[in-house]
């Protein structure tokens, strides 16, 4: 579990990461409630955006390994690529899950109206995994760390808008409503809606299922072992 241990260590090694990983989630709790929309407090609506950012920040560590050629060393070490990837991802998902716990249960402690905190936590958890997977797939395209991060940020912004996380999907024109379904953020927005209006449990399972499907697809895409 050396890689796991050091992945955690490295995740917390620079100040920007610490701010991203601790301060921002806490700030999320304190954001105010919306009037008509969103149905949950703003912080909980935007937490999805934060999860996406944290995902790429963490995955960048893998990109750094690749950029510097550490993967080459690891390819020669008696450790499989699968072990390397899984231990890294495990470390990152633990960090993300911790964030979700802080946000959800911190909100409960402060008396925010979260309707069903348990389900909300599960939803954030599923989305965290999807976000990590997408980030992993993204970094398999790019070699340059900064460029990959900046382009991903702008891409995220577009996805978030189109997925209906920033603007209620109800005001979208018909075609865009359909296209929105393609983006994972749409499913998070749907999930958040479900938390508030809690219709059938089956719908919630479907939403999580889709997020997990995305996770698997993107992990497969991102699992490539790139050397050089």
């Amino acid at each position: 579990m050396t890689i796991f241990k050091f992945a955690l260590k490295r995740s917390f090694s620079n100040t920007t990461n610490i701010i991203f990983l601790t301060l921002f989630p806490i700030a999320c709790i304190f954001l105010p409630n919306g009037e008509e929309w969103p149905f949950l407090p703003y912080g909980y609506q935007y937490f999805g955006l934060l999860i996406l950012f944290v995902g790429i920040r963490l995955a960048t560590i893998i990109l750094e390994d690749r950029e510097k050629g550490v993967v080459k060393r690891l390819a020669v070490a008696p450790i499989s690529h699968f072990q390397y990837l899984s231990q890294n991802l495990l470390a990152y998902s633990i960090i993300l899950i911790l964030q979700c716990i802080i946000v959800v249960y911190g909100g409960v402690l402060l008396g925010k109206e979260l309707y069903q905190p348990g389900w909300l936590f599960i939803l954030y958890g599923s989305f965290s995994f999807a976000s990590l997977a997408i980030a992993l797939a993204w970094i398999s395209i790019y070699r340059n760390k900064d460029a990959s991060f900046l382009v991903y940020m702008s891409l995220i912004f577009i996805i978030v808008v189109l997925g209906g996380l920033l603007i209620p999907i109800e005001i979208f024109p018909d075609l865009l409503k359909r296209v929105a379904v393609i983006f994972p953020t749409y499913w998070l927005a749907e999930g958040l809606k479900w938390i508030v209006f809690s219709e059938e449990i089956l719908d919630f399972l479907l939403i999580n299922g889709v997020l997990w499907l995305y996770t698997i697809v993107f992990v497969i895409v991102g699992s490539i072992r790139k050397i050089n």
Partner: protein, 243 residues
């Protein structure tokens, strides 16, 4: 003025920084397009389509980030890689720094103007007063550049200066209440109105559109004042850092 001969190349360097072009031109264009799709046909009671307001906000918001390229160029040329070479050259380094700033301001304004052109001719947004708009945009660009340089001069670690410049951009967007309403107290009210370059410039443009010329000038002049004060601050800090 030997510095003049470098201007051309500074401009070229800026035009070839593809990441900046992507972030400050392509992304806003895509976002504007998306918004215009989403908001197509939505017209509130005032009669001005939502998209007009949104695109004005967008153009101004992206000006908040316009300083980043100047910041990285100056950092590269006068602090790290090229430092010794630049100081060995027989020209005035301060003037060189100013020329980079001017180029950056022009570049940023140009990008803003391109966005306006795009939104007018492709998305059909009507801009009422082009000149005024460009004046405000250039004020925002200069302000952003000065703020970024203050960060560069006052923080040791350039990475942190970069992060701070992002905080400046995103922070004022948040404070302007574009993401979510800010709490109502004196502090946030101030930062949501006269203490915020974004709201100031938005207000200036809006007032000009409604022909409140006095209010418009007033807000623009606050911006100008801020620029002058911060410019002096920047000069002091810069002198200490470079000298």
């Amino acid at each position: 003025m030997r510095v003049l001969s470098t201007v051309k190349f500074t401009a070229l360097r800026m035009l070839r920084s593809y990441i900046v072009l992507l972030l400050l031109l392509v992304v806003p264009i895509i976002l504007l397009t998306v918004f215009s799709f989403i908001l197509s046909g939505a017209v509130p009671e005032s009669g001005v389509p939502y998209i007009n307001e949104t695109s004005m906000t967008q153009v101004l918001v992206f000006q908040l980030f316009g300083g980043s390229i100047v910041m990285s160029l100056i950092y590269n040329d006068l602090f790290t890689e090229n430092k010794i070479r630049m100081y060995a050259l027989p020209f005035n380094q301060t003037m060189y720094a100013f020329s980079i700033m001017m180029c950056g301001a022009l570049f940023s304004t140009l990008l803003g103007a391109l966005l306006m052109v795009y939104s007018q001719f492709v998305l059909g947004v009507m801009w009422q007063n082009w000149l005024w708009m460009i004046y405000i945009i250039s004020l925002m660009a200069v302000l952003s550049i000065i703020v970024c340089l203050i960060f560069t001069f006052s923080v040791k670690n350039f990475k942190i200066a970069e992060r701070l410049s992002e905080v400046y951009g995103i922070g004022f967007v948040v404070l302007a209440g574009l993401f979510f309403p800010m709490p109502e107290n004196g502090f946030f009210d101030f930062l949501g109105s006269y203490g915020n370059p974004l709201t100031l410039s938005m207000g200036a443009i809006r007032d000009m559109g409604e022909s409140n010329i006095g209010d418009a000038w007033f807000q623009a002049n606050i911006l100008l004042g801020a620029i002058i004060i911060l410019f002096v601050v920047m000069l002091i800090l810069g002198r200490r850092k470079i000298g």
